[in-house]
């Protein structure tokens, strides 16, 4: 008995289970012993190696899942100071005369000179004084402009138009590299939405029409050609579609349409549409195919044509899946980067005209993030619009999932 208990203690120490004794009491036949710590099933204590492997599996998956949640944290973290209005990008700062150095507390001095504790600690008094004199010098270089005192990262200037000193009327403008950086997000959001709508208008009717044709009307041989071809289209990297839009399509469309700027949201939207055709097509085709064959057969037996069966019977049944296809296509289109970066012209203008050169959220991030000073207002603004994009796609994916779930439960409910 004593030996058994010692062995138990040994085992418990080896594998770090504190409630080992407690568990050993529940060994009566019929007792459920399988449920254990965080879902890892106990048992097979005679095989410590397997036990270790199972714990390893658990730890790896836990860290993978934590990593996934880390994404939410790290993208949002950089944007928080802007969201809560803690960032100050105004160029005019309070200036303290260098003679007052001794009256400042270390903390005030640190905030004033914008240094870390370690940096400040490494300096002697003369260096500190020199830095303070430098501050006074830079204060003289601030542009003589009433706007220099504005904190351009506060929400009022991010969302609403404002009449800057050189402008005749209030404008919404994204101009991060200028004497007074301006971060109005309206042109970028309008650009993203405009381009996405053009992409959806171009691709959704075509992709859903093709899905209806392939799944309901065409002979099986057509399906064997079309599905791999659409997969081929899905396999084309977006940078290649961007290249095609920029080098080949832009000039061709301009010669046909005769509009002014060669690169605009129309060209980008068409190329973007090509990128989302495979997404919309495969989800819609899946949804239409998942409608039970008996529905169509019953309709055909009653004398309807194939098209009538597809349009009046199958399509309404698969409608949530079609919605899912559109919503997921939207999420894919609004987050696409390379195509819009190459083909949209990248001018941040507030305009709903599809033939104007335009600039989207994604293209702005891709083009500017390497030039922005880390931790500065521009850098944080880019993370802010990145989080916005994250949020939008996340919500649209959520709705897509919801629609697919509804389709499944609807078909199961009817079939059963």
């Amino acid at each position: 008995m004593a030996a058994r208990q010692a062995k138990r203690r040994c085992l418990a120490a080896l594998i770090g289970q504190h409630d080992f004794n407690h568990l050993m009491q529940h060994t009566a036949p019929g007792e459920n012993r399988t449920a254990g710590w965080m879902g890892i099933r106990r048992g097979h204590r005679a095989r410590p190696l397997e036990w270790l492997v199972e714990k390893f599996i658990f730890l790896v998956s836990l860290s993978a899942i934590l990593m996934i949640f880390l994404i939410f944290v790290f993208v949002g973290r950089e944007a928080l100071p802007i969201v809560f209005g803690r960032m100050n990008s105004s160029l005019v700062r309070k200036v303290i005369p260098p003679e007052n150095l001794d009256q400042l507390t270390p903390r005030e001095l640190r905030d004033y000179l914008e240094l870390t504790e370690a940096q400040l600690g490494a300096m002697d008094r003369d260096t500190r004084k020199l830095l303070m004199e430098l501050k006074v010098e830079t204060a003289k270089d601030i542009p003589k402009d009433k706007d220099a005192a504005i904190n351009t990262t506060s929400w009022r200037y991010l969302v609403f138009p404002y009449q800057w000193s050189d402008y005749e009327r209030p404008v919404s403008i994204w101009q991060p590299i200028s004497q007074i950086p301006k971060y109005n997000i309206a042109p970028l959001i309008i650009g993203s939405i405009k381009t996405t709508i053009i992409a959806l208008l171009f691709s959704v009717p075509m992709a859903i029409g093709a899905a209806i044709f392939v799944s309901q009307l065409a002979p099986a041989r057509v399906k064997e050609i079309v599905k791999p071809s659409v997969e081929l289209l899905a396999g084309i990297p977006s940078v290649v579609l961007g290249f095609f839009a920029l080098i080949v399509m832009a000039s061709f469309l301009q010669s046909v349409g005769g509009y002014e700027s060669r690169l605009n949201s129309f060209v980008a939207g068409i190329a973007l549409g090509l990128a989302i055709i495979p997404v919309v097509f495969s989800i819609a085709e899946d949804a239409l195919t998942s409608v039970p064959r008996s529905y169509t057969q019953a309709a055909l037996a009653l004398g309807s044509s194939r098209w009538q069966a597809a349009w009046h019977i199958v399509l309404p049944a698969a409608l949530p899946g079609i919605f899912a296809a559109i919503v997921l296509g939207f999420g894919r289109a609004i987050g696409e980067t390379m195509i819009v970066l190459m083909a949209s012209g990248n001018a941040s203008i507030v305009s709903w005209n599809g033939f104007d050169s335009t600039r989207t959220i994604t293209a702005t991030i891709a083009a500017e993030v390497m030039e922005a000073v880390v931790g500065g207002p521009h850098y944080r603004m880019l993370f802010m619009i990145g989080s916005l994009l994250f949020l939008v796609t996340f919500v649209s994916n959520l709705f897509g999932e919801l629609f697919i779930h509804r389709l499944k439960s609807r078909l199961e409910g009817k079939a059963g």
């Binding site: 973290r77 044709f213 084309i236 990297p237 098209w307 190459m342 891709a366 993030v369 990145g386 994916n397």
Partner: protein
């Protein structure tokens, strides 16, 4: 006779004819667009691809038609994709095994995790790029520099590098790998597992000897598809490691690298003379397409073999 004519007249439904033609036209249009894109690229670029083009180009001028080659870009793309695969496949497969075989299926935490994973598979790649920049380079990298050599001001890890680009891509493809592996595991009939357990095998033995070998083709298909997607991805590596130009191939994990996709972007937007560099551009596009299509083709082949096997089994 009269009745028969009436019957056929009723049978012919103009709306059906029209709409069938319309949807068929849409299908044809998609195929035509694909053919035009591929045809244009092949027509303009096939002459530019030669053995010299693929195997040279490390030291020469990148905009010179007669000297430029794509070896550094092919090397960089292959290196980052292989590194990514090393990171993502084991972790993704293990996580999927945990989620399908061990975690309780209907518990709130499992459902929540699965929802987050599913959702993350559709988040734009540029957001992952931001994450890579904020987390890997400015958080992990800079802290690594701080601990390893606190006195040295020159950053080694706290700057864009091939390791950070690969890790960013790994995080980006992780949800996809998890989801496809889970699907492959769930397609294995529950009866197989039960039979194995009934014969006295442990859970781990069942997973290792019964479930995984059966699910392997499905896991491979998902893995290859996500690799091919990552190979053509440019937005995240733009911020985490791709270089405009490098005189030599990367030799350490902390080096930057040249990349096929990024090179296409540079050649089409920043070329000094677009007409002259057109052959290089088209050649690079063909090399990238060959790479991704080859991967896709392998995935399709593997999948059709599984389907045939399944059909023979059932």
């Amino acid at each position: 006779m009269n009745a028969r004519r009436e019957f056929t007249a009723q049978r012919f439904d103009y709306a059906s004819f029209f709409f069938t033609g319309l949807t068929g036209g849409a299908t044809f249009l998609i195929l035509a667009i694909l053919a035009i894109i591929l045809g244009n690229i092949l027509h303009n670029g096939w002459g530019a691809v030669s053995w010299r083009f693929i195997t040279s180009g490390t030291q020469q001028d990148m905009f010179d038609v007669n000297k430029a080659g794509v070896l550094p870009m092919v090397f960089g793309t292959a290196a980052r994709v292989i590194l990514m695969t090393i990171f993502v496949v084991p972790i993704g497969v293990i996580t999927a095994i945990y989620l399908t075989e061990y975690a309780r299926h209907n518990s709130l935490s499992t459902r929540f995790t699965r929802g987050a994973v599913n959702n993350l598979a559709g988040v734009p790649s540029i957001v992952f790029g931001l994450f890579g920049l904020g987390f890997f380079i400015h958080f992990v990298g800079q802290n690594l520099d701080h601990f390893l050599r606190p006195t040295n001001a020159e950053p080694i890890w706290g700057k864009p590098a091939i390791i950070w680009a690969s890790l960013t891509l790994a995080v980006m493809t992780l949800p996809v790998v998890i989801v496809t592996t889970e699907e492959a595991l769930r397609a294995i009939p529950q009866g197989l597992r039960e039979a194995s357990l009934a014969l006295g095998a442990t859970k781990l033995q069942t997973i290792w000897r019964i479930v995984l070998p059966q699910a392997l083709p499905g896991i491979l298909t998902g893995g290859i598809l996500s690799v091919s997607r990552a190979a053509g991805e440019v937005a995240p590596i733009l911020m985490t490691g791709a270089a405009y130009y490098m005189a030599s191939l990367p030799t350490s994990l902390a080096d930057q690298f040249m990349d096929l996709g990024y090179h296409i972007f540079i050649l089409s937007t920043q070329s000094p003379n677009i007409e002259q560099t057109r052959p290089i551009l088209y050649g690079t596009v063909i090399v990238l397409l060959l790479l991704t299509f080859a991967l896709n083709f392998v995935a399709i082949l593997v999948r059709s073999r599984i389907r045939k096997q399944r059909r023979m089994l059932s």
